[in-house]
């Protein structure tokens, strides 16, 4: 009796694994409506296929962002890559894998090693932390696979033998700090919701604080506790921050996930219209908030996630043409207010915020 059950379970487990494995390798697609709307015009613009196919079939790119669960920011990166590739007539196949939220660095190394085993043509990685990227770069170099590294700007990508497609995060933090100082004309106080203890939080928050201290030495800045980038924590932290300091004029959130929480906190406290909210990243979900009445955010640091992808596509094209790829490719971020979105974002990205 039990032998039968055992056999049944082994078979069932194999079946499940089989079914799961054969599930179509869906590439995480953001707002499907935007995709459908834009698919038609994009196809029409498609340049006559310059068959740059090196070998047989499409160019395979292994893409590993640090997370696909916390924010959809990196998904837009893939979107940008695919759009530009279509424009250039490049046939690509993108494999996207991210580590789950914990044990991130080790998992990401595993993912890249498996990319290499699979024989991808290019690797695009956004390392969990700048320093933790070294083993990944070494692995790619050893295998002779060109590796694009976002998001941070590296000092000497040539020495590491990587192609850097990055942003000067410290500068963006400083820009935010300066912008806030100007916007408020040094009349604070300012609230900041922190992320998780790590690099990104350091760049985006501490640089901003330093810039504000330089420009407006008398302006008070209250920082919340660490939130691990989780909206729920952000909500509670924002509420406590605003309750303890109700005269805060503006709250800066170093990530859209936190903005979502802060906006709710302000709502719960009945302070809508009294406190401004500044975002970072400006994913479409947050852009929507500009359209509400009254607008829930004043604007934010516009990061151009799709631009990273587009640059990678351009570089791959160069490489296929036999040209050299530039080691340092900077993608800027700029602080914009709601009505300035149009000047920064392409139509299709704005459409995703409908």
């Amino acid at each position: 009796m039990y032998k039968k059950l055992l056999a049944l379970f082994v078979v069932a487990s194999l079946l499940i694994i089989g079914v799961v494995s054969c599930a179509p390798a869906e590439e995480a697609a953001p707002a499907e409506e935007a995709m459908e709307e834009e698919a038609a015009p994009a196809e029409e613009e498609e340049a006559p296929a310059e068959e740059e196919a090196m070998d047989e079939g499409p160019v395979v790119i292994g893409y590993s962002p640090p997370t696909l669960e916390m924010t959809d920011f990196y998904v837009w990166g893939q979107e940008g890559l695919e759009r530009k590739a279509t424009e250039l007539g490049l046939e690509i196949d993108v494999i996207t894998k991210a580590p789950s939220t914990h044990a991130a660095a080790e998992e990401q190394l595993r993912i890249v090693e498996d990319f290499i085993t699979q024989g991808v043509d290019y690797i695009w990685v956004v390392p969990v932390s700048v320093e933790a990227g070294d083993p990944i770069f070494e692995a790619a170099n050893e295998a002779g696979i060109p590796i694009f590294v976002g998001h941070a700007l590296y000092e000497d990508p040539e020495a590491l033998n990587i192609i850097n497609v990055g942003t000067d995060f410290e500068k963006t933090g400083t820009d935010v700090g300066n912008w806030i100082s100007d916007y408020l004309a040094c009349e604070g106080p300012v609230g900041i919701i922190r992320g998780a203890a790590g690099e990104y939080d350091g760049w985006r928050v501490e640089s901003a604080i330093a810039a504000m201290a330089a420009k407006c030495p008398d302006m008070e800045v209250f920082a919340s506790d660490y939130t691990d980038w989780l909206t729920e924590n952000g909500l509670n932290q924002a509420k406590t921050l605003l309750t303890a300091n109700p005269d805060i004029k503006l709250v800066y959130n170093p990530s859209s996930t936190l903005t979502l929480g802060t906006v709710q906190a302000i709502d719960e406290l009945g302070m809508v219209g009294e406190v401004e909210v500044l975002d970072y990243d400006l994913i479409p979900t947050v852009q929507k908030m500009c359209k509400e009445d009254p607008p829930k955010v004043v604007g934010g640091l516009a990061m151009l996630p799709y631009e990273y992808g587009a640059v990678v596509a351009d570089l791959i094209q160069k490489d296929l043409n036999g040209e050299e790829m530039t080691y340092t490719n900077e993608v800027p971020g700029v602080v914009v207010e709601c009505d300035e979105f149009v000047t920064v974002f392409p139509d299709w990205y704005l459409a995703a915020a409908e």
């Binding site: 696909l68 959809d72 203890a197 506790d225 309750t243 979502l260 709710q264 929507k288």
Partner: protein, 337 residues
């Protein structure tokens, strides 16, 4: 170790544990009020402590039954995420009525609990492992079924569950109070609670005594599944969104609340009130320590120390009580001779 589970010792224990946590909450409250002016505002207590504490409060009610029966459920966060995801999708994306969405969400929580219970009771697999596995499955399914990471902008009537109040008392807290009442009754005045403690102290003996252990355990896991779904929905209502990351860390907070509240995993006894107060205390600590400038990491350390010191103290007290009882007994015997 513990001989008589039912009867005087366990009910005394329960009362002592409740007194302890009540005392702690009281002391904490006074201390924080003295140290921080913000803390003194009633509004602060209502809005910054009770409203967010509702969610863990609800979970701790169910977790009491689980821990008292020496079980464990680490998947509650994932259940919350999955239930709220699917429930909200129902009325957000597919235009079903809101109440139906809520019902669907709750049903998913119940089914999930049933799933957990199956492995734990029928296959006798350790709850620790089962719920670690279902934690993964649940979160994965949330990703698969919702597709989007964030669904933002929910209907007002739904949001009112999370952000509304009646006579200044936050709605989520009222819901928690209601569930507290129900749980209190179930735990202290029905067999559900008594048997949980019996199962926890000696499962084999309980079985031999004729208790249908599997059935009761199944109920406990279904109950907490139900509560997790509610918690997830309330959070979504409050946050005006569904996020894949909903519920991360819920299980540890719920377990910590129950432990702080005095429920013993050795089956010595359990206390619904204790767990409820434990959840409130955690939130008091969270907010209060933050107002005092103690960062979230040190907060964690402090909670850990309270847990260990609290348990060690309780155990020491038990030891002393038993020693003196034995002494009295010996004296009595000797004096009778």
């Amino acid at each position: 170790m513990n001989q008589s589970k039912n009867g005087k010792i366990s009910s005394f224990f329960r009362r002592a544990a409740q007194l302890r946590i009540l005392f702690l909450v009281f002391v904490l409250f006074i201390a924080l009020s003295i140290l921080s002016p913000t803390f003194r505002k009633l509004e602060f207590i209502l809005e910054n402590v009770l409203r967010p504490a509702s969610i863990i409060g609800i979970l701790s009610l169910g977790m009491t039954f689980i821990l008292a029966s020496k079980g464990l459920d680490l998947s509650v966060g994932s259940i919350a995420a999955l239930s709220s995801s699917v429930g909200v999708m129902a009325f957000y994306k597919y235009d079903y009525p809101i109440w139906l969405g809520i019902v669907i969400g709750v049903l998913i929580g119940i089914l999930f609990g049933l799933f957990n219970a199956f492995f734990i009771t029928k296959l006798r697999v350790a709850p620790f492992i089962v719920t670690i596995a279902t934690l993964s499955i649940g979160r994965g399914l949330t990703l698969v079924l919702s597709g989007n990471l964030f669904t933002y902008g929910l209907p007002d009537s739904f949001r009112d569950i999370g952000r509304g109040s009646f006579f200044s008392i936050p709605t989520p807290f009222l819901i928690t109070l209601l569930l507290y009442g129900v749980s209190y009754y179930l735990f202290n005045h029905t067999r559900l609670g008594k048997y949980a403690c019996a199962i926890g102290s000696n499962e084999t003996a309980a079985r031999v005594a004729g208790i249908q252990v599997d059935r009761y355990k199944t109920f406990y896991y279904i109950f907490i599944g139900f509560l997790s779904a509610l918690a997830g929905l309330i959070f979504s209502a409050r946050a005006n969104m569904v996020a894949i990351t909903t519920g991360m860390g819920y299980e540890l907070d719920a377990i910590a609340s129950v432990i702080l509240g005095g429920t013993s995993m050795a089956g010595g006894g359990g206390s619904i009130t204790g767990s409820f107060l434990g959840a409130i205390m955690l939130m008091l600590l969270d907010n209060g320590l933050q107002l005092l400038g103690i960062n979230t990491f040190l907060q964690k350390t402090i909670v850990g120390m309270i847990i260990i010191i609290g348990l060690a103290y309780a155990a020491w007290q038990d030891e002393q009580a038993r020693k003196s009882a034995r002494k009295k007994m010996t004296e009595k015997v000797l004096s009778n001779q």
